[in-house]
Amino acid sequence: MKDSYITPDGRTIGGVLMDMRGITLRFGGVEAIKNISFDIREGEIRAIIGPNGAGKSSMLNVISGFYHPQDGEVWFRAAKRPTMRPYDVARQGIARTFQNIALFEGMSVLDNIMCGRLTHMKTGIFSQAIWHGAAQREEVENREAVERIIDFLEIQAIRKTPVGRLPYGLKKRVELARALAAEPKLLLLDEPMAGMNVEEKEDMSRFILDVNDEFGTTIALIEHDMGVVMDLSDRVVVMDYGRKIGDGTPDEVRGNQEVIDAYLGVAHD
């Protein structure tokens, strides 16, 4: 496999960051993921698409360490990952957003994003409570990092607003901010554009591209909107009924007969 290459729009895609090898995931008798292998390269935007129930979210949960596959190996940064708790995975540099927004509704936007910095904070609960010395310095440093993200995602005006009062599109953006605050190597986005109108989708697309461009963050995303997926991603994995039915650049995938059948249905005659 070639090592690194440069995309038509001038970004450098590096070596393999995450390698999924023969992943099989079963819930009792149901096989949600059937022996799927694919990789995610450093710096790329990788999409996972497929019809409802194809196993996309399950796959994302395997990557984030929430589900543990019965078979197969997960390789991250050239090392086989042992079975880990999700917070250990987060510490490794993988952050995510959720399909059904999972923010703290009663807390302000700022506090929610500060939560994303948790893995970067080392001082204990007592020194933080006393608010002195190292704890204070640490908070200031982390707040600065958070403020840069707030600036980046243009959500200054809602900094102090409780998340519960925000419209859906903005909540999605706050969730992205929280994931970014962890300064992840790999960012997992579960349907970042679901339920958005055209304008919100365009904004979100721009932010995803900017994140990738500005911070060099590798992004794996699940999305239903084909137009968005084809425009954003470098490579696409297509799943159907837990199987991988396509893998390649958007153009390759678009021409794949099996993919077309899965999406448009096949005549049974």
């Binding site: 600065e144 707030i150 243009e154 200054q156 005006a157 900017d210 500005e214």
Partner: protein, 646 residues
């Protein structure tokens, strides 16, 4: 150095560095914190940028376009341009690409300093047609990494090149070469009619005006202003550059457009300017929130506002007020006015101005009764803002004040107001015909507004745009704005356009205010899926009809304008918008455009029809166009009996 020798903005800057170098000159909220620059620091930034522009090949008399929201770095571009003898040309950052193309091409800017990727993209779209534009300098590099940097440099890099070049002697030479009558800035008028015109203002215009107006209100170092109005607008140039440089006060820039109200509260400006629309919006929001407030709070608010209406303005003007009322007002201040002013960010306002459009008397009185010294001024780009303004203690909602220091006024036979002042513009750029038709050889400038000077007080009263004032078919006076302003006072009416010149009766288009009407709909469980649907809701139409009828009663009481009562009206299915060319960027209605675009609706208003089907083209924010269709109700309003002049 005495102030008599200060003949340019860079010289004022040098004086400020010498006199109060370590006082704050600029602040900007960024990353959640107010960052500030002293006069000394700002001057160093400006010099680095000016030298950087020289290394890029700028030569005296080049035009340098500036596009972006209010940020210290962009204000520095203006002064840096002046430092090397160039002419800054600030432009409206929300203008569509074609509008910007016209101005960029017309002024022949060789350099454009822009805020971010959005503006870079906009210029990239039109760059082919712009032969003069050589180099773009951008402030925020986000998303620009992959762009071709052949003719594009970041602001920081330009400054770094400038610092490395060590050109301070050259900078001083170039600054010294500029005289009092050389160009200070060029500003494009918003253009209610036709193409925008480039108004050339000299150092004399700007500095004399800044001096006079600062003296008028006693502005001084230590004043705080919030710079949030478009940089391309002459008012912002005078407040944030002219007066700030003259007096040495600090200019504060908000974090983003959306945070303006929060930033206003944090800064608490002492000198504040806002167009009537901002005051209207704030008042609407206060009223909406009071509707939602608990009974006790609502009672407190209503009770003390009644007191405030009665004695607030008099207290502000220092007129005698009874002791009991003083006490009640003081209590009101404790419970209502003080906290309310604080919430609005207006606690510290010492001098407040509104201009641009007439302000509804009730809105004006509301703010004054709270104890905010809100005044009116009348001005235009060609006058370097100030023509008339209201002195403290002589503030009324129906006049625009007395001539500003150094301004002479005369009223022509047709009622048009003319002025002559030290601020009178030099010329329209590359347009001697327009210059000659606007400014006569003696320096008198036609304002285009009809008005009269009130006997006794000497205050100027503006009736309407001179060209909009017309006659009805029976010869009675038709002054659309007079009626529109009365309509716009209602919180649920955002905009109104009245027709009637050369007709038998007047009709009107009305835009509902989505904030106010939407809130009302929510509270009354009225479902709607779009602006259009809400605008045609029978209850909404009923409310508007009641307002129009009330306005008719009020109009009927003025014998001169009683003919302007509105007989029929409709509520428009879309908001009038600058993107569709229906308004200027400063949100003034373009009557001709509207009359032309909606000619089918006007025809229907002057027919017997009860509704009308229409198709309208709309332009989205990104420039794409679409069609909307609607069937609009045509309504009759109650016309009041006219009072016969005795």
């Amino acid at each position: 150095m005495t102030t008599d020798q200060l003949h340019s903005i860079p010289e004022l800057l040098a004086r400020n560095v010498a006199s109060f170098g370590d006082k704050p000159a600029y602040r900007e909220k960024e990353f959640g914190i107010w960052q500030s620059w002293t006069w000394t620091q700002a001057a160093a930034e400006i010099d680095a940028l000016a030298a950087g522009l020289l290394t890029l090949g700028a030569v005296p008399d080049d035009h340098i376009a500036i596009v972006g929201r209010n940020r210290p770095a962009l204000y520095w571009v203006m002064v840096a341009a002046q430092r090397i003898g160039c002419v800054p040309v600030p432009m409206y950052s929300d203008a569509a690409a074609e509008e910007m193309a016209y101005a960029l091409d017309h002024c022949g800017a060789r350099f454009a300093v822009v805020s971010d990727q959005e503006q870079v993209d906009k210029i990239a779209d039109i760059r082919e047609g712009l032969t003069g534009l050589e180099h773009i300098i951008y402030l925020d590099g986000r998303g620009l990494r992959k762009y071709d940097h052949g003719a594009m440099t970041s602001y920081g890099d330009v400054q770094a090149a400038g610092r490395a070049a060590e050109l301070s002697v050259r900078l001083d030479e170039l600054s010294a070469a500029r005289g009092y009558d050389d160009t200070c800035v060029m500003l494009y008028t918003s253009g209610t009619t036709g193409r925008p015109k480039g108004v050339v203002l000299s150092n004399r215009n700007v500095i004399e005006t800044s001096k006079n107006s600062s003296d008028f209100d006693g502005l001084r170092v230590g004043e705080e202003v919030l710079a949030y109005l478009p940089m391309a607008w002459v008012g912002d140039f005078i407040f944030s550059i002219g007066q700030s440089m003259w007096t040495g006060f600090c200019v504060n820039c908000p974090e983003s457009e959306a945070t303006m109200m929060t930033d206003l509260r944090e800064i608490g400006p002492t000198y504040y300017f806002a167009p009537p629309r901002v005051f209207e919006t704030q008042l609407t929001q206060v009223m909406i929130r009071m509707e939602d407030a608990g009974r006790v709070k609502k009672w407190l608010f209503d009770h003390f506002m009644a007191v405030a209406h009665r004695v607030g303005p008099d207290l502000l003007d220092g007129k005698p007020v009874g002791g009991l009322y003083r006490l009640r007002y003081a209590l009101g201040n404790l419970f209502v006015f003080g906290p309310l002013k604080n919430t609005l960010g207006l606690s510290r306002v010492r001098v407040g101005y509104t201009a641009g459009e007439a302000i509804g008397p009730e809105i004006f009185d509301f703010y004054r009764s709270l104890g905010i010294n809100l005044k009116q001024l009348y001005g235009q780009t060609e006058a370097t803002v100030f023509i008339t303004q209201q002195p403290d203690g002589e503030v009324r909602s129906d006049t625009v004040g007395v001539p500003s220091p150094g301004v002479e006024l005369k009223i022509a036979e047709n009622g048009e107001v003319f002025y002559r002042s030290p601020g009178t513009f030099m010329s329209y750029y590359k347009n001697p015909e327009s210059t000659a038709s606007t400014k006569d050889t003696e320096g008198w400038v036609a304002t285009g507004d009809a008005g009269f000077i009130e006997e006794g007080s000497g205050h100027l009263r503006i009736i309407d745009r001179a060209k909009d004032v017309g006659q009805m078919v029976d010869g009675r006076l038709f002054a659309p704005k007079y009626v529109e302003n009365k309509l716009k006072f209602y919180p649920n009416i955002l905009e109104a356009v009245v027709f009637g010149a050369g007709r038998e009766y007047c009709t009107a288009f009305i835009n509902i205010d989505l904030t106010a009407v939407g809130n009302w709909a929510e509270r009354n469980n009225i479902a709607y899926s779009s602006y259009q649907e809400l605008s045609q809701h029978p209850q909404v139409l009923g409310q508007i009809e009641a307002h129009v009828s009330e306005v008719n009663t009020s109009v009927a009481s003025d014998p001169m304008l009683a003919g302007c009562q509105i007989h029929r009206f409709l509520v428009l299915h879309k908001e009038l918008d600058a993107d569709d060319g229906e308004m200027t960027r400063t949100r003034k209605v373009r009557r001709a455009v509207i009359a032309d675009k909606f000619s089918d609706l006007i025809a229907a208003l002057y027919s017997d029809a009860t509704d009308v089907y229409t198709e309208t083209e709309v332009t989205y924010e990104d420039g794409r166009k679409g069609q909307i269709t609607a069937t609009l109700d045509l309504r009759d309003a109650v016309v009041a009996a006219e009072q016969v002049a005795a």
